[in-house]
Symmetry: C2
Subunit: 263 residues, 2 copies
C-alpha cells in the first residue's frame, strides 16, 4: 500500500508531468475527485516558487482509470504573493479533469477574525467506523482502507430508513498509514463524507460536476473533523459545502461543490 505522497507523485516528462494513478484512492472503480485534484496540485507545486495550494476549482470531464496519466500545467499569472495556473490531467489524449489553481503560502498565524467554530461531534471513538465493504454489499470503497473515516451516528439514520432532515453530516478522518494531513491530502478530506442527498434518503451516488476548495492553514497533527451541508436540491442539482478542522480546532479548509443526483 502506497502512502498518499507516493500515490500522488508526479515526474517531469518533457514539458509536462507523468502520474501513476493508484486504484486504492477510489470509490467503487472511480478514482476520488480529491485525489485527482491532489495530483494536479502536486504538479503545480513542482512548477511554482510558492509552496502551498491556496485555491482550486476543478471540473471532472471523464473518469480516468488507474495507471499512467499526463499532467500539464500552464502558468497564467506570476505574482509575488501567489501564482495562478491551469492544470489538466489527461489519459490517452483525452482530458479527464481541468483545474484553475492559486498557489501561494499558508502562514502559521492565528485568524485576524473568525466566525468559524468547530462542529459539535461525538468523540472519535463514539463515531461509526465506515467499512470499505459494507456487510452484504457488493460495492466497495477502497479509499476507506487508506482513510479511516468515523461518521457521526446522527447522520446514519438513512441506513435504517430514518433519514435526517437537516442536510448536515460530519465525521472524523485519519490517514491509515499514520502520516499527518497536509494541504494536498486535505483535498481528499473535503469530499469524504457520504453525499448529503444519501443522508436525506436519496439512494445512489452524487457525482461532482465541479468542486472548489480553499486551503486556509497547514493542519496540525492529529485527526481532522469534517462537516458537510447542503442548501438546496432542485432539478437534480445539489450544492454541498464542506469545512475541515484540525486537532487544534482551527479551520483548515473549505469547499463547495455542485453535484448531480436523481431525485
Amino acid at each position: 500500500m502506497q502512502t498518499f505522497a507516493e500515490a500522488t507523485a508526479v515526474l517531469p516528462r518533457g514539458d509536462a508531468f507523468e502520474a501513476d494513478l493508484d486504484p486504492q484512492w477510489a470509490v467503487g472503480d472511480k478514482l476520488h475527485g480529491g485525489y485527482l485534484m491532489a495530483v494536479l496540485g502536486r504538479a503545480v507545486a513542482a512548477a511554482s516558487d510558492h509552496p502551498h495550494l491556496n485555491a482550486i476549482s476543478a471540473v471532472f470531464l471523464r473518469p480516468p482509470v488507474p495507471g499512467k496519466a499526463t499532467v500539464s500545467v500552464e502558468l497564467l499569472r506570476n505574482g509575488r504573493r501567489f501564482d495562478q495556473f491551469r492544470a489538466r490531467l489527461a489519459q490517452d489524449g483525452d482530458v479527464c479533469a481541468e483545474a484553475l489553481i492559486t498557489q501561494g503560502g499558508l502562514e502559521e498565524v492565528d485568524p485576524w477574525w473568525t466566525n468559524a467554530t468547530p462542529p459539535p461531534l461525538p468523540d472519535e471513538a463514539d463515531c461509526f467506523l465506515l467499512p470499505s465493504t459494507p456487510p452484504g454489499s457488493d460495492f466497495s470503497v477502497p479509499l476507506l482502507d487508506v482513510v479511516e473515516h468515523r461518521l457521526d451516528p446522527a447522520a446514519m439514520g438513512f441506513a435504517v430508513g430514518k433519514p435526517a432532515t437537516d442536510g448536515r453530516v460530519g465525521g472524523w478522518l485519519r490517514l491509515v498509514d499514520g502520516s499527518d494531513w497536509d494541504p494536498l491530502s486535505v483535498l481528499v478530506a473535503l469530499d469524504m463524507v457520504p453525499p448529503v442527498s444519501l443522508v436525506l434518503g436519496v439512494p445512489g451516488w452524487a457525482p461532482t460536476i465541479t468542486l472548489t476548495a480553499y486551503l486556509r492553514r497547514v493542519p496540525a497533527p492529529g485527526p481532522l473533523r469534517v462537516t458537510m451541508h447542503a442548501t438546496d436540491i432542485t432539478a437534480g442539482r445539489m450544492d454541498e459545502t464542506a469545512q475541515v478542522w484540525d486537532a487544534k480546532g482551527n479551520l483548515v479548509a473549505q469547499a463547495t461543490q455542485l453535484a448531480a443526483i436523481r431525485t
Copy 2:
C-alpha cells in the same frame, strides 16, 4: 447608457468572439468581476446548445480596460444534460480572466429539498441607497448608476466608526434600466455588496483572487435580495459566501470567493 444585454454582447470573430467592455460596469476604474464573468458566459451561451449558465469558476489575472476584448471558448465536455467549457478574456494578447463554465438548463420547479430561507432584511425603502459618488469622496462607483443597491443599515456601522462584528452584510438590488434580472446579470449581483472586511472595519477594497458561482433557477421579476458573509480572515486572505434570492423568496444563485485584504 447601455442595457446589461448590450454591455455584455459578444460578436463572432473568426474562431473567437469580440466584446466591447463598457466603462459603466466598474468600481473606480476597475471593471467589475461579475460583469467580466457575464461576458464570458455570453460567449459560452453562443457556443452551446444548452441555454443557461449553471456554474462558473474564474480567476482574475490582470484588470482589462474598457474597450475591445477577445473572448475565446473551448468545449471540454459535451453532454446531454450539460456542457463544460473553458473561456478566456484577453486584451492585446494578454489573458485578463479565465473561467471554467458548466452550461445546462435551469428548470422552473420547486426545490425537492431546501434549507434556504431568505435573509431577514428591512424593507427595500428602509435600506440605504448607495450613491455612485459618496459625498466628499473622490472615489466613484459607476456600477451604482446601473445597479440600484440599497444596503441593510445594520451593515453601515463602519461608516460611523462602529464596525459590525458578525461578518454579515445584505441588501436589495435592481437594474436601473428596469429590465428583469437573468442568470447572467445575477453574476453581478453576487459580488455587489461591500467587502465583509470593510463592514468589519478594515478600510480599502478586497480584490477577488478567485470566484465560483452556481446558478440555481431563473429569477422571478422584481428586486433581488443578496447576503454575504465571511468565515475566516487570516494572513491577508478572506473567504466570502454570497446568496441571492428573488422576489418570490427562492434561492437564485450562490457564490464563494477568496479575496485579498490588508489586515
